[in-house]
């Protein structure tokens, strides 16, 4: 065992240290920042007030996503004045500070974490930040990517750096092959089920193992996206040929000799043999079955074949109370079969599962079938480019024929900041990442699952094991 063997995280960290402070904190260089309308206005406001400028406006990309309408008449559909103010403020700030801005009506517009990779703005080996916790998504490229608060957004704007302390190394290894109907989302939920929503706190999780290496970039992004739900600020996967193939030829990725030079560097990033992790977790791909959440935290997750758990079965007092509260909120009874739970809505979309592969998975399940009469089902592509590609492949037709609403790109019902939300007590099969109380609308009930599982539920009208459809 060599002592100077480094993990991927160690390498990403060390290659960005500008200064080591006496107290052990480091000034870390930030290569890229993405901004959206919700968490940037206060940063620009303070920057102006202090008379400061942007260190590197060209290292930033702005796109509105949280507030934008996803209906066909989006250009005129914003009826909330405060939403319009946020969108206008972003546009004006980008103009004033010369930041590359993708307007709502541009074909490239979409959710920040889908747009960055699509544009080649996200590259391996980088540090990438955004005022949004799901920035961990970009870790799929072997980049150190994490969400930050608005004060930190401002700090990066002004200095291109952040003061950080190094986190611990954690490895989550998923070896073996996953079965049919089991996706990256199921792997992510199974991991959270195993380690809990605080399992990764204070750590950067590196995902390793053959089940991870076999994932497409889309699947890897889904997995890294959910690392924050396991408590880790970042999730990372070593870059490999799958990564390089995805990056090549994107609008902002390096071209020609520069690309070759970059790949040579990226190949030095994977964890060295013998490097040590502070914490290691092992799962077998074969053991993972399609997952679905039953409660109000992503860790309240079970195989679809399971039953709603009973608070009486747990001894810890606080956990018992939390569980009962979750069941009351979700309107479920202990002992009920998960597959018997009827749903009202289906939401396919978000930065977790709004990419082309996700939409293909839904189309595969519903081709030639119909959405159940009692269900309203939506597909919200993660970006305009995803939407265009899906339409080129004829997926929108399959979905529309089945009775899905095919919408414009945005965060939509992932967090219900605009008109897209659940009514009180409506129950939703959702491909997003959070099932917190009120997340998809006040008193709305969310069951997290994969796109294929959400599609199966759309057809039958209740939670369904997609493998049996």
């Amino acid at each position: 065992m060599t002592t100077n063997a480094k993990t991927l995280y160690d390498k990403l960290w060390q290659s960005h240290i500008v200064d080591v402070q006496e107290d052990g904190n480091c000034l870390i260089y930030i290569d890229r920042q993405i901004i959206h309308e919700v968490t940037s206005p206060q940063a620009f406001e303070s920057l102006r007030a202090a008379g400061r400028t942007l260190a590197h406006p060209e290292a930033m990309l702005a796109v509105p996503d949280h507030n934008v309408p996803t209906s066909a008449d989006r250009a005129t559909a914003i009826n909330a004045e405060d939403s319009q103010i946020q969108l206008d403020t972003l546009e004006r700030n980008c103009k004033d500070f010369k930041v590359d801005y993708i307007p709502m009506m541009d074909a490239r517009q979409g959710i920040v974490h889908i747009v960055g990779p699509e544009q080649g703005f996200t590259l391996p080996g980088m540090t990438i930040v955004c005022g949004d916790s799901h920035t961990s998504t970009h870790g799929a490229f072997g980049a150190l990517a994490f969400g930050i608060g608005t004060s930190e957004v401002e700090h990066v704007m002004a200095t291109q750096t952040l003061v950080l302390h190094k986190l611990k190394n954690m490895r989550v290894d998923v070896d073996g092959e996953v079965g049919k109907g089991v996706t990256a989302k199921d792997i992510a939920l199974a991991i959270i089920g195993k380690i809990g929503t605080a399992g990764g706190t204070g750590h950067v999780i590196e995902f390793t193992g053959s089940a991870i290496r076999n994932l497409s970039m889309e699947g890897r992004m889904t997995l890294c996206n959910m690392s924050i739900e396991a408590g880790a600020r970042s999730g990372i996967i070593a870059p490999d040929q799958t990564t390089f193939d995805y990056v090549m030829g994107r609008p902002q990725s390096p071209k020609g000799a520069a690309f070759e030079q970059a790949v040579a560097y990226w190949k030095t990033l994977p964890t060295d043999q013998g490097a040590l992790y502070d914490k290691e977790i092992f799962l077998r791909g074969e053991d993972i079955v399609p997952q679905v959440t039953w409660g109000t935290s992503p860790e309240n997750v079970l195989p679809i074949t399971g039953i709603v758990p009973n608070p009486d079965d747990v001894t810890d007092k606080d956990r018992k109370i939390a569980m009962q509260r979750a069941l009351d909120y979700m309107g479920l009874t202990a002992g009920q079969k998960l597959q018997d739970v009827k749903i009202d809505r289906v939401f396919v979309g978000s930065c977790t599962n709004g990419r082309i592969e996700d939409i293909r998975a839904v189309a595969d399940v519903v081709r030639g079938k119909k959405v159940h009469d009692n269900v309203t089902a939506w597909v919200v592509p993660g970006s305009g480019l995803v939407k265009l590609q899906a339409e080129e492949e004829g997926l929108d037709k399959i979905l529309r024929d089945a009775g899905f609403d095919w919408r414009e790109p945005g965060c939509s019902m992932c967090l219900a900041m605009n008109a897209d939300k659940l009514e009180p007590f409506e129950r939703c099969a959702s491909t997003s990442n959070r099932n917190f109380e009120g997340r998809q609308g006040q008193k709305g009930r969310t069951h997290l699952m994969s796109p294929a599982m959400a599609a199966a539920a759309a057809v039958t009208g209740h939670l369904t094991d997609v493998r049996e459809l």
């Binding site: 206060q42 969400g147 700090h155 600020r233 109380e437």
Partner: protein, 204 residues
């Protein structure tokens, strides 16, 4: 930024685990372009009834705790979304210090940027403080950041750990952008190096 040195105040017990930032400030209140004014909406889903009236069972609505400036909470406080609106809302509400067994990383960092002090303590100590806090307005708890010490109403003391840099910034109300800008030359040197080793990262 506001300084934090020493605080003697009422502490409210809210021993729930996993209080997420959606719970601290729901998404419908994020459509603001300001940092202030979020206090009335803090915890709104558990603080108000649907008709907007206050829920009597919510701790911060009880007469003894309306002026609480310290919150004692359960593990994994502030998990979920990175929204800095969460500490802004807590601060605007009047809270200055949150004590819990553990915090989510992003929330923890965000507190310091806003003059809010998050303190991590072992569950056994939290249990004692919860006991103190349950005595309402009669129980004043003192948090002394300089000496990293909390004293209960009966004079018992516990010490806490804190990152020295963050402590320094909080004690002096320092703006860390200003501090970083003093290292401008180091940043420039780093960039110059990086332009040579990874030229593809630079667009200009």
């Amino acid at each position: 930024m506001d300084k934090f040195t020493r605080l003697s105040a009422i502490a409210a017990p809210l021993p729930m685990a996993n209080i997420d930032t959606d719970m601290i400030i729901p998404q419908q209140y994020l459509k603001t372009i300001k940092r202030t004014g979020l206090g009335v909406s803090a915890f709104s889903n558990i603080r108000y009834h649907d008709d907007g009236s206050e829920r009597e069972d919510f701790i911060l609505n009880k007469p003894a705790y309306r002026k609480a400036e310290i919150l004692i909470a359960g593990e994994n406080f502030g998990c979920g979304s990175s929204r800095e609106h969460a500490p802004w809302a807590l601060k605007d509400f009047g809270l200055k210090c949150i004590i819990a067994p553990s915090f989510a990383d992003i929330f923890y960092g965000n507190c310091f940027k806003n003059g809010l002090l998050p303190i991590k303590l072992p569950q056994e100590t939290i249990d004692l403080l919860l006991d103190d806090a349950s005595r309402g307005a009669n129980a004043i708890i003192t948090v002394d950041l300089e000496n990293q010490e909390i004293s209960g109403p009966d004079g018992g003391k516990v010490s806490f750990e804190i990152d020295p840099y963050r402590k320094h910034c909080l004690l002096n109300g320092l703006d860390d952008i200003g501090l970083t800008l003093e290292k401008k030359d180091k940043i420039k040197d780093f960039e110059a190096q990086k332009r040579l080793s990874q030229p593809w990262l630079f667009k200009d």
